[in-house]
């Protein structure tokens, strides 16, 4: 059975943030989980390893990313 991407992302984030209840609309950076640049790249690297995908650096050049945006990118790459 394919892994639930949202649940896996929450697991990855839980190791890096003390936010009690992350939701898909929560920003990864400022005003949300407040991950700094190094933590953001670490999340990306953990997702790449977990899902076997390769994420382009352009992802971070988009408007402020939410957890849902990250999930959507990964799901699109897995298709």
């Amino acid at each position: 059975m394919p892994e639930d991407v949202t649940v896996a992302i929450y697991e990855i984030l839980r190791a890096r943030t003390r936010h009690a209840a992350p939701t898909p609309d929560l920003l990864l950076g400022r005003g949300g989980l407040d991950l700094d640049s190094i933590a953001l790249v670490e999340v990306l690297l953990a997702c790449e390893e977990r899902f076997g995908v390769s994420i382009a650096p352009e992802m971070f050049e988009a408007p402020p990313l939410t957890i849902g945006d990250l999930r959507d990118r990964i799901e699109a790459l897995r298709r």
């Binding site: 640049s37 190094i38 790249v41 690297l45 650096p57 992802m59 990313l65």
Partner: protein, 269 residues
């Protein structure tokens, strides 16, 4: 002469020298050094002798005054250099910047770490001639590079900086060389000690080294009689090792300290 008049006089000469640097760089930078040293001796600041002694307490007043004058000389040379690049481009600088052979032929993946010492703004032309592709990060763009060098800005929010870091990581994984400044971090940064004072170092280079396995090599640019020479130091792997390396370098060559780094170490604006 008032302080304002004196400042205008020195600045005026500095502007003339930045024009002269296009046709006669050696003469212009030599005169800039003399001007900076004179300015320091006359004004007794930029930097003050007691500021130098605060960082190098083993220097007596006479030696500290000489170091202060040489730091003043470095400040003026660098100011003329930056002004000349802004006004006339990087081409005139390319003729007098050289890198040691082991450095220029260095293959990636490597992280070259700079500090605000010596002629840090003259590094670019040497990096253009490296054998491996070089991705350098700096705040703001000073010139348009050519050859194997690409320059990217470090400005922006955390997400933008994450994109920059990710690009750097991919560049290293492809066997490239990444150049980052380790010091002069305004607020955030990993706290270390250098010359008895707090030094905050940018953590990005150390994260890149951890993720990629690439070594961090300190590099320096130094004014010489013939121009600017770029050299590499021994690899460092932690912020404390980098601070220790910088401290050793400055203890051996205190007049390579720039005013920017001096002020940061002393916590003055």
């Amino acid at each position: 002469m008032s302080s304002e008049q004196e400042s205008r006089s020195f600045d005026g000469i500095g502007k003339l020298l930045s024009n002269l640097a296009v046709s006669s760089p050696r003469a212009a930078y030599s005169m800039a050094g003399k001007l900076g040293a004179l300015r320091n001796r006359v004004t007794r600041r930029w930097p003050r002798v007691d500021e130098v002694q605060s960082l190098f307490p083993l220097l007596d007043a006479h030696d500290a005054a000489n170091v202060a004058a040489r730091i003043g000389a470095l400040y003026e040379r660098n100011r003329v250099l930056v002004r000349s690049i802004q006004r006339h481009g990087i081409d005139p600088v390319r003729s007098f910047v050289s890198a040691s052979e082991p450095l220029a032929s260095m293959k990636g993946p490597r992280i070259l770490a700079t500090f605000h010492v010596g002629a840090v703004n003259a590094l670019g032309p040497a990096l253009e001639r490296f054998a491996s592709p070089v991705l350098a990060f700096r705040q703001g763009r000073l010139f348009t590079p050519r050859g194997s060098l690409e320059i990217q800005s470090t400005e922006g929010d955390e997400q933008r900086r994450a994109a920059t870091l990710h690009r750097a990581l991919l560049h290293l994984r492809e066997g490239g060389i990444v150049v980052v400044a380790l010091d002069v971090v305004p607020d955030l940064g990993t706290e270390t000690q250098c010359l008895g004072h707090t030094l905050r170092l940018a953590p990005g280079a150390f994260a890149l080294a951890r993720w990629s396995g690439a070594p961090i090599i300190p590099i320096t640019a130094r004014w010489t009689a013939d121009g600017v020479r770029i050299d590499a130091g021994e690899a460092v792997s932690t912020p404390d090792e980098a601070a220790t390396w910088l401290e050793r370098y400055l203890l051996e060559s205190p007049s390579e300290l720039t005013l920017g780094l001096l002020r940061m170490l002393l916590g003055v604006s």
